[in-house]
Symmetry: C2
DNA sequence: ATAAGAATAGAACGATCGTTCAAAAGGATG
DNA sequence: CATCCTTTTGAACGATCGTTCTATTCTTAT
């Protein structure tokens, strides 16, 4: 079927502005009116492209995660050691979660009113980056680079900490935040204890 | 001035239920109706005790933080080494942020619509736990226990990570979460690198 | 040029939001 | 028992919420 005119472009603009707003103000805090105003299209038109607010968010989140995962899988082999991979994945999170939807995921997941199907999709989403982290840790263990007693817990903690840092994207300048990400990995690797 | 009947008790109930709801559903996600229903008092009565939603939240957050700080200051001397203090403060965060208001603080702080006076109060609030963490790290440095190049960054990161863990209070059982907190500190101290 | 269909706008819906207010209820004091 | 002041209610406000619907504009095909 041929694409007639550029409705895809419109859809993309709406999705991008929505992602930005969700990231900044959360799910409940972002209204369709906000999205309409910010994207420059009417409120009704948002519903031409997306079934409802929840589906709109889910679409955005899924797209973001899928792209993120694919890109990481592509560049991950460029880093040789597990240590290098860990620094790289941290920087990669910062650079590619331009839309820090993680806190919104949390917001929705802890909301008892969310419908079960959405909830399942949300859990699947979080697993995308977690799988990436776990692979790095496993690689480090096999390598002899890392000593990890509980892989799953370690992965969870690492993911959590990067997620926490993402929330500062709108209130910190890039360089400062980048340093924070790197410093996080440094501490995660070496700790602060005197050897 | 004598207290006639137990309005203080009512106020406390409202504040407690509100704190619980804010923690679970966020600031924007929690309505005065929710608070009214959950506390068992009329919507109008919430406004008898609190000026508005924002002030209600700020009062709760400030009270929580003040109590937290005082309690920590009281028990902190019981732990001798900086390492012990660090494990203790992590456990203390878990046990005493029954109301994990941290993510709501974040939600409000990143909201451009918040009025400046509120914003300043919010920043002051976050400093309470940060000062506590910093004191522990400084103690560890003076001790020779810790090697820290940038005290402020380290403090910030530690606070951030504990905050991130707090968000799981409603979705994880206590024991699992407690183990996460302890494991966080262990990694923070020793890292995962093979020595 | 016209018909058809896709894209977009804008008004309108009922529900709920935060907030206000007037009135009722309740305990204390005389 | 009457009075006063505090506590509590419940209705009502305008604003905004997510969503629906109808009408209009625009693009393409005939």
């Amino acid at each position: 079927m041929k694409r007639h005119y550029d409705s895809d472009q419109t859809r993309k603009i709406i999705a991008e502005k929505a992602a930005q707003l969700f990231s900044q103000k959360g799910f409940a805090g972002t209204s369709i009116s906000d999205i309409s105003k910010e994207s420059g299209f009417s409120k009704g038109h948002v519903y031409y492209h997306f079934e409802n607010k929840e589906k709109l968010f889910m679409t955005i989140a899924q797209d973001t995660m899928r792209v993120w995962g694919d890109k990481w899988d592509a560049i991950s082999p460029n880093y040789e050691t597990a240590t290098a991979k860990l620094y790289a994945v941290a920087a990669f999170v910062l650079d590619n979660y331009k839309t820090p939807l993680l806190k919104v995921l949390q917001e929705l997941m802890t909301n008892p009113a969310a419908d079960p199907q959405t909830l399942k999709q949300l859990y699947d989403l979080v697993e995308t980056p977690m799988r990436a982290y776990e692979a790095v840790f496993q690689y480090g263990i096999d390598n002899g680079e890392f000593v990890i007693e509980d892989l799953q817990t370690t992965t969870f903690l690492f993911g959590n900490w990067l997620g926490a840092l993402c929330q500062h994207i709108f209130t910190m300048d890039y360089d400062t935040l980048h340093r924070m990400f790197q410093q996080s990995v440094t501490i995660f690797l070496g700790g602060i204890l005197k050897k």
